[in-house]
């Protein structure tokens, strides 16, 4: 038997490889570096790795290759854009994660046990969150560039497993955090199973696991359509679970609430980019010719997701849960971009993902600042009068909320406009109209938070706004500047996206 060594294009794969190397070194740092230096070493290593990876992505930005890893990975414009977005979001997320006060000193210890107390007292803070983040990011980077089902599945697990762990790392309310982690894990495992099941059907349909092979069968139309439909349906369930679309959203409010807030922000922003990135690639290339099989159902899911997210968010009393439902609604808006199935839809989706991700990280970073003696305060009633106590923090948060609501002169408006116009262009008028209406509903609860912060008198209950650490401050300022800049003058980024964003097959 002849063994052929795999031909790998290391340059094109380097962004992912750098991340994996960084993560592995991070594990070693965790084991060998003294506790006094551990935190700073890990932080420097993580940021360094991310920046290096981003530089590498920039270097290969014009590359187009389907053979980077023997046909398992495709590097093209959308891939570069999505990878760059994930890395930028990751960097600002790590700035927020760097505030170790959010993380349990010793995740392996039982909540309330002596070991935990001992770890806190001796200041023996473990920092495994950094390598976990890097592992997750490398999975996210691989997910939207995968071009066969096996790689896609591996990437899915690579991004999910670290996230399950990270959700359970909260220092305070540890039980809720662990519950969130377990819930996320169980439901995630379930959805992975669906995904795998769908993959098997697609293989049965096309006798191929590569996207190119499946696409050929779809275009040729010679296979058994039942297999194809089942395959599309189950693979879609797996993807829709990851983006938190209704009815596969049940995990997201609990996980958003239970996970440490910096992780929630990272998860909400970066996972969405990765999952929608993969989704765009699959629907735009592999399933494009079977549009009539999935488009009506996906439209229905988009409509339900937008309405459900917006309506249920109104009833939320917890800021993290509210943002969770708002993220569900945004998943619905983003689905409109998938349904559009045209160039404008692709451009719009990438822009929207980036703009939404940046604003999300910023918004959750601000949530980490509002605290009392027992940790973060997420009860909206206790956010009353925040505008009086710390006008700048409240004003910035209001800026993010206005962006989520899609008010002009914020990035959210340009995102919404571009995605809705793309969907309208493709004839999905119903989705657009529901989208616009649910934007109106959503505006209501965003504005309610602004009212709470600015127009209600503060209650004296020890809620205070922490002075942000320098890194968190940088992350927040970056987010708000990008959010407003993309609202006022989005032309350069839009041009950049539209020039690059062409799928190769």
């Amino acid at each position: 038997m002849v063994f052929t060594a795999p031909v790998l294009n290391y340059t094109l794969l380097s962004p992912i490889l750098i991340l994996l190397a960084g993560a592995l070194i991070g594990v070693l740092v965790e084991a060998f570096v003294s506790k006094a230096l551990r935190s700073i070493t890990q932080l420097t290593l993580t940021i360094g790795t991310l920046v290096l990876s981003l530089a590498q992505v920039w270097k290969i930005r014009n590359a187009q290759s389907t053979t980077a890893a023997m046909g398992s990975v495709v590097i093209d414009g959308p891939a570069i854009l999505l990878q760059a977005s994930i890395l930028i979001i990751a960097i600002i997320s790590v700035f927020v994660i760097a505030d170790t006060d959010h993380f349990t000193a010793l995740a392996a210890a039982l909540p309330g046990s002596d070991e935990e107390r001992h770890a806190v007292q001796t200041g023996n803070q473990v920092t495994e969150v950094y390598p976990l983040t890097l592992f997750a990011i490398s999975g996210m980077m691989l997910f939207p560039v995968s071009s066969d089902l096996i790689t896609l599945f591996v990437a899915l697990e690579m991004l999910s497993l670290p996230l399950y762990l990270m959700a359970g790392l909260s220092r305070r309310r540890r039980l809720a955090s662990q519950e969130a982690a377990l819930k996320y894990f169980l439901l995630g495992a379930f959805s992975s199973a669906f995904f795998l099941f769908g993959m098997a059907y697609l293989y049965g349909y096309s006798a191929s696991v590569t996207f190119a092979g499946i696409r050929e069968s779809v275009v040729g139309g010679s296979g058994n359509d039942v297999l194809l439909l089942i395959g599309i349906a189950f693979v879609s369930i797996g993807l829709l679970f990851k983006v938190g679309a209704v009815p596969f959203h049940a995990w997201s409010p609990d996980v958003y609430q239970g996970a440490p807030t910096p992780i929630t922000g990272f998860m909400a922003a970066a996972t969405k980019i990765a999952a929608f990135g993969a989704m765009l690639r699959i629907y735009y290339t592999v399933f494009a010719n079977a549009q009539w099989s999935w488009s009506p159902l996906l439209s229905a899911i988009a409509v339900i997701t937008m309405l459900f997210g917006s309506f249920v968010a109104i009833a939320q009393r917890d800021v993290k849960r509210m943002l969770a439902y708002s993220s569900i609604a945004h998943a619905g808006f983003l689905l409109a971009g998938v349904i559009a199935l045209n160039k404008a839809g692709l451009d719009a989706s990438i822009f929207y993902l980036f703009a939404y991700g940046v604003a999300t990280v910023g918004a959750f970073a601000i949530v980490t600042l509002v605290r009392d003696s027992a940790g973060e305060v997420t009860d909206l009633n206790r956010w009353k009068g925040l505008g009086k106590r710390s006008p700048w923090v409240a004003a910035t948060f209001a800026g993010f909320l206005l962006a989520f609501a899609g008010i002009p002169l914020t990035s959210g408006f340009i995102g919404k406009f571009s995605i809705f116009s793309a969907a309208y262009e493709s004839g999905a008028k119903g989705v657009v109209i529901v989208g616009v209406l649910s934007s109106a509903i959503a505006a209501f609860f965003y504005i309610r938070v602004i009212v709470l912060m600015f127009f209600t008198d503060p209650v004296q209950d020890g809620t205070s706004v922490e002075i942000p650490s320098e890194l968190t401050r940088i992350a927040i300022i970056f987010s708000i500047v990008v959010t407003i800049a993309l609202g006022v003058y989005p032309a350069p980024l839009l041009d950049f996206i539209t020039n690059l964003a062409i799928f190769i097959r």
Partner: protein
């Protein structure tokens, strides 16, 4: 010469200057704000002098690419209609700043923030009338809600946050309907020769009559909420009751005009056929607004709510004038927009002074002001007379033109609307009688009369009301060509009187 950008940049620069001032030096903040608004007013007047009255094309046109990806331009230009409204806005701004010298005290935030918001709002008020790119218009239309929202919620009285939210939700809802229509226009323009938001290009789009009807409604509902037309008016009395007098002047005087301006500029221009289809219904709504606003005004006990309801009645007149589709009606409606701003400003400002002196806005708490504070009482009386369109005051001319313009085509509507004038006499004369005349209500004995600052602030408003009442032609000369142009574009001829020549 880039006049319009200059006009928009000046208040913005002023707001930055105010932002740079120390928070504690409130006097300097106010002086800077006043100076800025005066400079803007002077610049507007200077621009207006260079306006060619008989030219119906857009003037002072500017166009720069903004988001080429979507074919969006930063495009400005004005015709007679826009010029009059920009003049109105920039004249009102210094009046509001001077008249409301102390109204920013007691707000949730500093005096400085108040003036930053006012100046930012002024930039947007100019931009919204000057924009000739639909996307730019929409952006300003929506973005200007935010400063107003904070002005009402932060510096108002009573249920101010509820009122601010109600205002914002109503407006946002309308705005989003308009957004859906704008997206549709954008997509259609892409299919017919390239994506654009240029107003002139969009007005020549081919579309089926159903599409046109639906898109028209998207725009019209947004504008009908703004201009409050019955039954979409309910946010206005709450907002006006809670806002400070100065904010109310800008809200009713300028922002609500965006609604009626939009009906002419966007509804009629973009969707001429649909406008004709919906005219009968809109006229009915306008007549209902006239009568309903007047009747509710009569029933109000609160002075600010009363003024708000009179405005609903007046906006009914303006809408009727617009959709009567005659050039007199149009000229009258445009002039009405201008005059309404000043008569309402006078009512709100003098009313606001009365309220702040008395510490109550209930009409019954006043009484005998004519003896105690004669100047203030006379000013209120004059403002009231202007509001009920007394001949010799400015509103009379515009109301008369609207009624004449409507009568030639829709006599029944005009006749019913005329009843609104009778009701107007009631809703003004009742508070005048209760508040100004009669025995002095206990508690009013020591109220002080207007001080010099207040007299200076109200003087130009009263002057405009009186002068334009006698001599409206300078404005009409600017308005008439624009109005006739719109009517001609729609393919209407003014009806010729049939029995006059026999």
């Amino acid at each position: 010469m880039t006049w319009l950008t200059l006009l928009m940049a000046l208040p913005l620069a002023g707001s930055l200057a105010v932002a740079a001032l120390p928070k504690t030096n409130e006097k300097l903040v106010k002086q800077t704000a006043l100076a800025t608004t005066l400079i803007v007013m002077a610049a507007t007047i200077a621009m207006a002098l260079g306006f060619q009255r008989d030219n119906v094309e857009l003037q002072f046109v500017e166009k720069y690419s903004w988001i080429p990806f979507f074919g969006i331009n930063y495009a400005l230009g004005i015709d007679g209609l826009a010029l009059v409204l920009i003049l109105m806005s920039t004249i009102l701004a210094p009046v509001v700043v001077l008249a409301g010298w102390n109204e920013s005290h007691g707000g949730r935030w500093s005096v400085k923030t108040f003036y930053i918001l006012i100046l930012v709002l002024e930039t947007m008020m100019i931009g919204v009338f000057a924009a000739t790119d639909v996307f730019l218009f929409y952006v300003i239309f929506e973005a200007m809600l935010i400063p107003v929202y904070f002005l009402i919620g932060g510096y108002g009285t009573g249920e101010r946050s509820a009122a601010a939210v109600k205002f914002l939700i109503y407006s946002l809802f309308g705005g989003l309907l308009m957004l859906a229509s704008i997206i549709a226009l954008y997509v259609m323009s892409g299919a017919q020769g390239g994506h654009t938001f240029d107003l002139a290009a969009l007005s020549s789009l081919e579309m089926s009559s159903t599409t046109q009807d639906l898109l028209f409604l998207g725009f019209f509902i947004a504008f009908a909420i703004k201009a409050p037309l019955w039954p979409l008016h309910t946010w206005l009395p709450d907002a006006a009751e809670s806002a400070t007098p100065g904010t109310s002047v800008l809200l009713l005087g300028v922002l609500d005009k965006v609604g009626t301006f939009g009906m002419i500029r966007y509804c009629l221009t973009l969707f001429p056929e649909a406008s004709k289809t919906f005219t009968p219904m809109i006229l009915v709504l306008a007549v209902i607004s006239i009568i309903y606003g007047a009747i509710l005004a009569i029933g109000q006990r609160d002075l600010k709510r009363l003024i708000a309801f009179t405005s609903i009645s007046h906006f009914g007149f303006i809408t009727m004038g617009i959709f009567a589709m005659t050039s007199q009606g149009h000229s009258g409606a445009t002039l009405y927009m201008f005059n309404h701003a000043f008569s309402t400003a006078a009512l709100f400002l003098v009313g606001g002074w009365m309220i702040s002196r008395r510490g109550s806005s209930t009409i019954a708490d006043f009484g005998g002001l004519q003896r105690i504070t004669p100047v203030m009482a006379w000013m209120f009386f004059l403002a009231g007379m202007s509001s009920l369109a007394l001949p010799g005051l400015s509103s009379f001319v515009s109301e008369f033109l609207v009624l004449v313009g409507t009568f030639t085509r829709y006599p029944a509507h005009a006749v019913i609307a005329t009843c609104g004038i009778v009701l107007a006499a009631l809703y003004i004369l009742i508070p005048v009688q209760k508040a100004l005349h009669g025995p002095t209500t206990p508690g009013n004995e020591n109220l002080s009369d207007l001080n010099l600052r207040e007299k200076i602030a109200i003087a130009p408003v009263i002057a405009i009301i009186v002068v334009l009442g006698f001599y409206p032609s300078p404005l009409l000369k600017v308005i008439n060509p624009a109005a006739s142009h719109v009517i001609a574009q729609l393919g209407f001829n003014d009806p010729v009187p049939t029995n006059g020549s026999k």
